[in-house]
């Protein structure tokens, strides 16, 4: 009755998604590095960095879908976890600049010299080491999510109230990071990166490598999410989403489930931010802007929540549209279009693109099963 976990996890949609992602991760670097520049098939380095950015947004969308689509937790502050992961990576990249900065201080980043700071703040210690920074990329967002979730879920804050306090959280962080004495470069943020693990961040090879690593991270994140949502844990999450009180009366500790999945999701968002920063070359407090988090939720809604693949698709499509429209004469109207898109999806495609497709496919399957006498029941998912 229940298939092997691996088969359950890798259904047709999941395999197709991973295959497409793999093909993308191979094709883009090949078309960039091996196809000569004059050729029609050549992909410019600008596009490589752009696609790399989309993949990071895809990871962020995945992390939102995991909690929103499956556990019903609508976080409107996930950009905060993304930005914290980005800052952790930015701190590593700053320490790599060393004496190549404007003030050539071997220890202090330029902005600290400019502010007349004499020594490195304690919380910057250790960030010259990549493994430490990589750990912090997940640990800092994870710890914040854990503490935040601990209080919110134990006090049974749900629905729109939770969404509002997540907005407040990211807004508060934005105000904090804007301050110079916070020690993260104030409103300029962290930028002018030179190299990552000894490779020049601007180089073509590094950009392609970052794209491939981002695709890999997306694939791993996707597999982790699939493993979770197809396990019994995932069934409990959906039960919580649809009937929280009932789940409690069945004896499930709802707050523990929410806390686990929320913390994991924040770690994933942190990884997305960390991969994003070296590809765009800057991290500043505007990444904490409440609007960013809302935009990320729109990607998931467009692609289809509770589908995982839909979230990634939504992130790609909406961001491609954003790049396309904001670089032309339509630029001033982009926010209207984004708002219009959200309203259109909510009214016309409440399940999102992938969700609508899945629903149509399942409906066809059921009709077929009902039409044939003694049809075998569907295999349990």
């Amino acid at each position: 009755m229940t298939a092997h976990p691996l088969i359950r996890m890798l259904d047709r949609g999941a395999v197709l998604f991973l295959a497409l992602l793999g093909a993308f991760a191979i094709a883009i670097p090949v078309l960039n590095l091996l196809v000569p520049e004059g050729s029609a098939l050549h992909v410019s380095t600008y596009l490589v960095a752009l696609f790399g950015k989309y993949v990071c947004y895809g990871i962020l969308a995945l992390s939102i879908d995991l909690i929103w689509g499956y556990a019903g937790i609508l976080s409107l502050g996930h950009g905060a976890f993304f930005a914290l992961g980005g800052y952790a990576m930015g701190m590593y990249l700053m320490r790599q600049i060393g004496t190549r900065g404007v003030y050539a201080n071997p220890i202090l980043p330029d902005f600290m010299v400019f502010l007349n700071w004499k020594e490195l703040p304690v919380y910057w210690y250790g960030f010259q080491y990549f493994p430490y920074a990589a750990l912090m990329v997940m640990l800092v967002p994870g710890a914040l999510a854990f503490v935040f979730g601990w209080f919110a879920f134990r006090s049974r804050v749900t629905g729109v109230y939770l969404s509002i306090i997540t907005q407040a959280m990211t807004f508060a962080l934005m105000l904090g990071f804007f301050r110079n004495n916070f020690g993260f470069g104030g409103n300029n943020g962290l930028t002018d990166f030179k190299d990552i693990l000894g490779f020049n961040v601007q180089a073509e090879g590094t950009r392609n490598a970052l794209l491939v690593v981002s695709c890999l991270a997306l694939a791993i994140g996707f597999l982790i999410c699939r493993a979770i949502v197809t396990s019994k844990f995932g069934k409990v999450l959906v039960a919580i989403r649809d009937a929280e009180a009932r789940t409690r009366f069945l004896g499930y500790r709802v707050e523990a489930y929410k806390l686990f999945v929320f913390t994991l999701s924040a770690c994933m968002a942190g990884v997305a931010g960390a991969l994003y920063v070296p590809q765009v070359g800057i991290i500043n407090p505007s990444e904490f802007a409440p609007g960013n988090s809302i935009e990320a939720v729109i990607w998931v809604a467009v692609g289809g929540r509770g589908t995982l693949t839909g979230a990634v698709l939504g992130a790609f499509v909406v961001n491609y549209a954003k790049t396309f429209f904001t670089s032309g004469v339509l630029a001033p109207y982009w926010l209207f279009m984004l708002g219009g898109l959200f309203i259109a999806v909510t009214l016309l495609l409440p399940r999102g693109v992938i969700g609508t497709y899945n629903h149509w496919r399942d409906g066809r399957g059921e009709a077929r099963a009902a039409g044939v006498p003694n049809a075998p029941p569907h295999a349990a998912k």
């Binding site: 844990f233 409690r248 009366f249 069945l250």
Partner: protein, 251 residues
């Protein structure tokens, strides 16, 4: 914890619950012995559902004692999850199943098992569990619908699925809130049979409006009115009680 000398499985004494000054329960006291089946009746607003809320931890009493298992556990100090883990199962007035899950998954989620995060993450199906689910399907007669989404079931089928989920929990005490609301006469009779069967191994409290159904059950009846016990006894004794007749017909 202080031991209370009672042989009762469930012991309620002087329970008072007020909502904005309105006393939903007013010094409610009664006992349920192990293995008993009890029907609780009463007009609308008598406090039947509030009583269930107090026992299952949804509502905290303002005053009074609620003890489970011969006074071992003070239920007024525990939350819903802890109380469910002690073995108190609840069926809601409105059938509440997980609409998006299949009938089988609904039972699987209810099945008595380790409820902690790590256990459900690493969970694998096993033969004893599958056999248990088959047994429950035999009892609730929904086997042919096992892979249907629970949201697509009829009202009566949902009621039965919810009773199946209660069985899967293997509770010591079942609280069943209006199990036959909206059922046909045939379904009502079948449900009475089902509850009697369940009562062979478990203690059951049934809250019900439907007098025919309560008569079918043939068990001891407690009539609530304005948050306290009005009468207790067999259905004939209770239905002949003058005050009971008054509160049922007099308004």
């Amino acid at each position: 914890m202080e031991q209370h000398t009672t042989t009762a499985l469930l012991y309620l004494n002087g329970i008072t619950v007020s909502f904005d000054g309105f006393k939903a329960l007013n010094e409610l006291s009664f006992l349920i012995e192990p293995g008993e089946m009890r029907a609780i009746i009463g007009p609308n607003g008598a406090g039947k559902t509030t009583m269930i809320d107090v026992v299952t931890g949804k509502t905290r009493p303002d005053a009074g004692d609620v003890y489970f298992e011969e006074g071992t556990y003070d239920l007024s100090k525990l939350d819903e999850t802890d109380i469910a883990a002690l073995g108190i199962g609840r069926k809601f007035q409105k059938p509440t199943v997980f609409d998006m899950h299949t009938v089988e998954d609904n039972l699987l989620l209810a099945l008595k098992n380790d409820r902690r995060v790590r256990a459900t993450l690493l969970w694998q199906s096993s033969t004893p569990q599958e056999r248990r689910i088959e047994e429950i399907f035999d009892t609730i007669r929904l086997k042919s619908l096992r892979s249907r989404v629970a949201g697509s079931l009829s009202h009566g089928q949902k009621q039965w699925l919810e009773i199946g989920m209660l069985l899967a929990q293997e509770p010591k005490l079942l609280l069943v809130d209006e199990p036959v609301a909206g059922m046909t006469d045939a379904e009502t009779r079948q449900t009475a049979e089902l509850l009697k069967e369940i009562n062979r191994t478990k203690t059951v409290i049934v809250v019900e409006h439907d007098m025919t159904f309560v008569r079918d059950l043939g068990v001891r009846v407690t009539c609530l009115h304005e948050g306290s016990v009005l009468a207790e006894g067999t259905i004939d004794q209770v239905s002949q009680n003058e005050r009971v007749v008054e509160v049922y017909l007099g308004r």
